[in-house]
Symmetry: C2
Subunit: 347 residues, 2 copies
């Protein structure tokens, strides 16, 4: 295979195998995230090699650092589920329009891991062009939330125009992205958050119903509004019964996080009374074909909404990747509205 | 509106308002089901009047007699969710092909209640022609199971060719119908039942994997087979955790009964590990538009499979409607394989 010359000199293919990545030096210490030299990864058949410039931070990354969210078998132990950078070796990858990716092309990638690094190998189906007009920094902030929101509220729960959609943690990365996506689909949006300032941000991004979970019972508020047709839940057990109470007939709860515990009592009778559905989903352990399907749908449906400004990303702060541990700390402390992004030093 | 002359003299419109129905004379006694004179019901706008000749018996009917399954507001207290008979007053109803129903036409009907009677009023969308070649008796035995199976395994859980589908209570009316429907869709079928004779019947109707729940752990068997993509469940709480263990990745549990209890512990972590979905559904409380949509889909997709013999009904026995209490007793005792049908004396 021949590659065209890279257009960005600072990212042209290197001939040595030097790279750097965040390594967790003590598996019992989630803050032992150190930037150090590593062997540059080699793409297998069906994978491209990408030189990363920015990596998004997700709550799942903090779980992995704490030992609760192991990477899928056969993938890197390096943390990081999304990134943006430059293709170093496309290795035969094709863009969504069927044309070949070229070394030097800017790219956004969905990862099973490995984002907190200078280089990562990526299955071909998980490469996306940047949204039109987007910087690498902003692109790194939308991959995980966009694929998560689209796969769950559309591909799993099929939001319809006029539906009422509830996002727990409305001020987080998924929440702010979800609000805008649901509004773009013609839905009404309710959110829960733990502070007025986060609720104000939710309102700025289009949320219609603002619920401070410290002051109000969200199930009561939703019931008074006719019930939620779709709930995107990050709490799990603690909200299980209230989520069911908050459902409209034929409503759908999609749980993607368990910040409120793993096991809870399910009242099947209550679920049946509204003909409700509960799904628990995640992106990380899906097989590459499934991820490619989600990436493709996200690219086709969500990228245009980013390009025309219907959905805006909210990057709360950018830290050098060497400060990954501080980034995790800030996220866990609830300091972050929207997204936090790590900047990776260039080779 | 004018009606053509009825072709069946014994079902031509009567001018008096005499009718008979099963009345539960003691709401504390599920066996106090007595056949007695009642006022003939009058169809409202959008309803037809049907003279019933056969009514199917369902487990839900036994629940209603026991006080656990009240009819939807505004509908009759008379038990009975499905029937077949003759149109007495179509009141403007149209067949699926758009032609008008005529007085005297044979018809199968899905009901919110009222089947154990000589006359019932039926929303227009819940009338179906008999499957080609079917008797009224056999037609009365398939309405509830066909709409239940189709709405759940296809419209809710979207069974695909090659899927593995598990039916609990494989020997029951829903089970035997479900086995054949899933096989017609190209699925593999597993069933649970409590006796070898019921399992033998399941095998005759096409079940591939036979599990005596008294002797085997169905979750282990299913796991060894790669997991169930769809589970149609009538047990509820008691099977909740085992059903999740038995799921294939992205599998879907649809619970339509709670014979094993209403409340159970949901392990959301386990559900998330397979990206599973749990729905709890029922037909009875859906609004007429929703029922019409399900009846229509069943008529279009399942009726041809009945006409060509791909799916066969299994009527275990026919009793006079006056023996409704005995029918319920036999069903609850687990004596019935497939369906039990009540015959209604003609006016």
């Amino acid at each position: 295979m021949t590659h065209s010359n890279a257009s960005h000199n600072n990212t042209s293919p290197t001939t040595d195998n030097t790279s750097h990545a965040i390594v967790q030096t003590d598996t019992n210490d989630p803050s032992s995230l150190t930037w150090q030299p590593v062997t540059k990864p080699t793409p297998k058949d069906g994978e491209a090699l990408v030189a990363i410039q920015f990596a998004g931070v997700n709550r799942a990354d903090t779980l992995q650092a704490a030992g609760h969210y192991p990477p899928p078998k056969g993938t890197t132990n390096t943390i990081g589920l999304e990134a943006a950078g430059v293709v170093e070796d496309p290795n035969g990858a094709q863009r969504p329009d069927g044309s070949p990716w070229q070394a030097g092309d800017q790219v956004a990638v969905l990862l099973s891991g490995g984002g907190y690094a200078q280089h990562v190998t990526v299955p071909h189906g998980q490469l996306m062009p940047l949204p039109e007009g987007y910087s690498l920094r902003d692109a790194a902030s939308v991959v995980e939330v966009a694929t998560t929101v689209w796969s769950n509220i559309m591909m799993t729960a099929h939001v319809n125009e006029g539906d009422l959609v509830l996002f727990h943690g409305g001020g987080g990365g998924i929440g702010l992205f979800g609000i805008q996506t649901a509004k773009a689909l013609g839905a009404r949006v309710a959110v829960t958050a733990g502070s007025q300032s986060k609720l104000d941000t939710c309102a700025r991004y289009g949320a219609d119903i603002l619920i401070n979970y410290k002051e109000e019972d969200f199930a009561e508020v939703l019931t008074a509004e006719g019930g939620a047709n779709v709930i995107l839940d990050i709490i799990g057990a603690k909200y299980l019964d209230s989520n069911i109470k908050a459902l409209a007939p034929d409503g759908h709860i999609v749980t993607i996080g368990m910040q409120g515990g793993v096991k809870g009592e399910l009242n099947i009778g209550r679920l049946l009374a509204t003909r409700g559905t509960i799904s628990a989903t995640g992106l990380r352990y899906r097989d590459p074909e499934d991820k490619a399907r989600i990436v493709r749908a996200t690219y086709e449906n969500v990228w245009p909404l980013l390009a025309d400004g219907t959905i805006r990303t909210h990057v709360d702060r950018v830290l050098p990747v060497q400060q990954a541990a501080e980034a995790h700390k800030a996220l866990l402390a609830g300091e972050i509205t929207g997204k936090i992004v790590l900047e990776v030093p260039q080779v």
